[in-house]
Symmetry: C2
Subunit: 412 residues, 2 copies
């Protein structure tokens, strides 16, 4: 991604379908003060903290598992119908730290293997590389990873004398592919996880942004067998600058001397070696945002969701305009139509690598992301990811016109 960021940085004037950043026109600098004060008032009013306790909470080292676990648990109940013990939550420095902690906690032996959907978000493959964890790929179809393929891969790994330990998946509007799992496939995946003795690491940064505004059930909410570890993020539903995420890890584990505890406490022990605790400042501001929105981020994001829905519709309409059906077939150009989220994938008739991106940025003034970087086992060489999240609405059509011109020239 470093090279990619360098290319992006060299062309600041280009229309950019590259970053998975949230749109930012609705951010308001003054709101940080408002949210911080809302959290401090909550501590005083709802929890009965005196001024000294409020001060300690904001300024000192805090609880390793976090200080707004109660507020997040309340919000998850409202937004996702997910009812979890606040003690099973670990607030993390972005979902990225959550991935790192979960991988380190779950995968302890050299023969353990992490299964990931392919194409796959680079954050989890990066965390696996950092920890020297072996991965195996479960290819995605049009509706995300197929549970039957997951079972096949798990069995193949076991037949090779290794242990398939966990499977990482983004069921809603995945990054980079944009695809989503159907509800029956979610149920089936939980059945396969039980059958294959797999844990599931469910990552859900985009779940709010469904075009039909209908909430999909998370794997975690369907899970009755304690198979799912859930990674949450406030980067897209609040804002990235807080770098706040969380893990729900309510599995019971047995520690030294037979002591029973929660997997969350194992994650906390590991967190004491990565960042000690998540900044109180970030938790206070996001906590205040949760209080301010009455512990309901989904309705608070209704405008955001409508924006991304319009933006993706505009992007799809512009692609239809730019590539009439006959030309589409002739050039072998195509794309998927996601049900929500930030991303879609365009197939092109040439190698869409960093060199192509550089030419496209320089000569056509438009940016995108090569897909091959999301395929740790190879693949995606003739695909590119477009993001609708960060591009100004009035630039979408022009951006796609420029992209189409580049595709036609590159296909020659």
């Amino acid at each position: 991604m470093t090279l990619l960021n360098e290319v992006t940085a060299r062309y600041p004037e280009a229309i950019s379908f590259a970053p998975g950043r949230p749109y930012e026109d609705w951010f308001d600098v003054e709101s940080v003060h408002t949210y911080l004060d809302a959290y401090l008032a909550h501590l005083a009013k709802d929890r009965g903290f005196g001024p000294e306790e409020v001060r300690t909470t904001l300024f000192q080292y805090g609880r390793t598992k976090g200080i707004i676990h109660d507020l997040v648990a309340r919000t998850l109940a409202n937004d996702e119908d997910l009812h979890v013990d606040p003690e099973a939550l670990v607030l993390t420095v972005g979902a990225q730290e959550g991935m790192l902690l979960a991988l380190r906690a779950l995968i302890a032996d050299r023969e353990d293997v992490l299964l990931v959907s392919a194409p796959c978000y680079v954050g989890v493959t990066g965390a696996a590389r950092l920890l020297d964890i072996a991965i195996e790929l479960v290819p995605e179809g049009a509706h995300g990873p197929d549970p039957a393929r997951l079972a096949e891969v798990a069995e193949r790994v076991r037949a090779a004398g290794r242990r398939p330990r966990a499977f990482y998946v983004v069921p809603d509007f995945a990054n980079p592919s944009g695809v989503s799992m159907t509800v029956p496939a979610r149920e089936e995946m939980l059945r396969v996880a039980a059958e294959q003795d797999l844990l599931i690491i469910e990552d859900n940064p985009y779940g709010f942004f469904a075009h039909d505004q209908v909430a999909r059930p998370t794997l975690k909410s369907l899970d009755r067998a304690g198979r799912v570890i859930y990674l949450g993020s406030f980067a897209k539903t609040c804002f990235p600058g807080a770098r706040l995420g969380y893990v729900v890890a309510d599995q019971e584990v047995h520690g030294p001397g037979g002591r029973r505890g929660l997997l969350a406490d194992e994650l906390a022990k590991i967190k004491s070696m990565t960042t000690v605790n998540t900044p109180s400042l970030s938790q206070a501001v996001i906590g205040g945002m949760l209080v301010h929105h009455d512990y309901r981020l989904r309705p608070a994001n209704a405008g955001t969701t409508a924006f991304y829905t319009r933006s993706m519709s505009a992007l799809l309409a512009a692609l239809e305009d730019a590539f009439p059906p006959a030309e589409r077939a002739r050039l072998a150009v195509g794309w998927n139509v996601p049900e929500g989220g930030f991303f879609l994938v365009v197939r092109v008739p040439f190698t869409a690598d960093e060199a192509a991106l550089e030419r496209c940025a320089r000569d056509y003034g438009v940016l995108w992301t090569p897909m091959h970087g999301f395929h740790p086992g190879g693949g995606g060489e003739r695909e590119l990811r477009l993001s609708c999240s960060y591009v100004p609405p009035d630039a979408v059509a022009e951006g796609v016109r420029r992209l189409a011109a580049f595709v036609r020239d590159a296909a020659r």
Copy 2:
């Protein structure tokens, strides 16, 4: 440390010499607003940012190496006479993340070994454990680690067919021992590092808090050969709730294809797999604090330093009172007299483990930290660490009286 925190949490009314937390009476909740505004004003005024750029800086994903690198570099020049390229800085989620990044960047092969001073801060041994890095111990003397012992250990490691790669050390007022290196020993240690081809990871959380208010030269400021990676922290000089630290990694490295870069950029690549970037909120508030104090934290901490100096003096005086010389000899009780910082070590004539701590907390109402947890190779069983940083000044004498009563009873 988990068990220790549990004991501490069970006795909230006890007088506590246990935590390495900064004293907090001078923290003021309103100051967070002031510092945040100071940073935003700095962006507008000194850097010419428009309102949209200011908003993006605060709310969006940021630069992996951080956004206040320029302000930190300016402050280091003023406070430590350390002149570094801002591009060689990586802002981290506490010094803990800095340790993790540095260890992962420096120690790549199975035969590489990290040398650490013993007793040793648990954060670095924890990070090494997380990454499966082998450590070897360099015992401390009354003035910290002896460079000659460092050379011996490095040679022994090399003779065993492994590579001594780096040495972790806190030259000023170490945690847990409180000891400091002399200036000639610092010079000699740099000579040994060059001779043994070792890098030095210098961690400096307590350097400001010298009783004589005279700044010791950091190893980094004495280093002319690019041997020292410097870890800084704002937890004690600003406040812990921002969880902000940094690494100075100005070594030149050669990347793929012979591209030259800074070690800081290698750390940033690893950081993209741990936390992606350090919260902008934390950087904005600490950045505002640096601006507010005219890029000089040392004078801004003069009152803090005077407080810790008085607190340690009171602690030492109370120990002298509680253990008259004759009894001290009879009981084989003793302690060191640090030149600054938070910590000192008391030798006692019994096993000072968690069980002893529990009895002392329950029956005598005073808390401390067993030293054996800081000795990964064993040792320190009859020693305890006292911290002068968090105990209210009017409780020091009474706390030591209680401790002395416990020591006398436990020695029977």
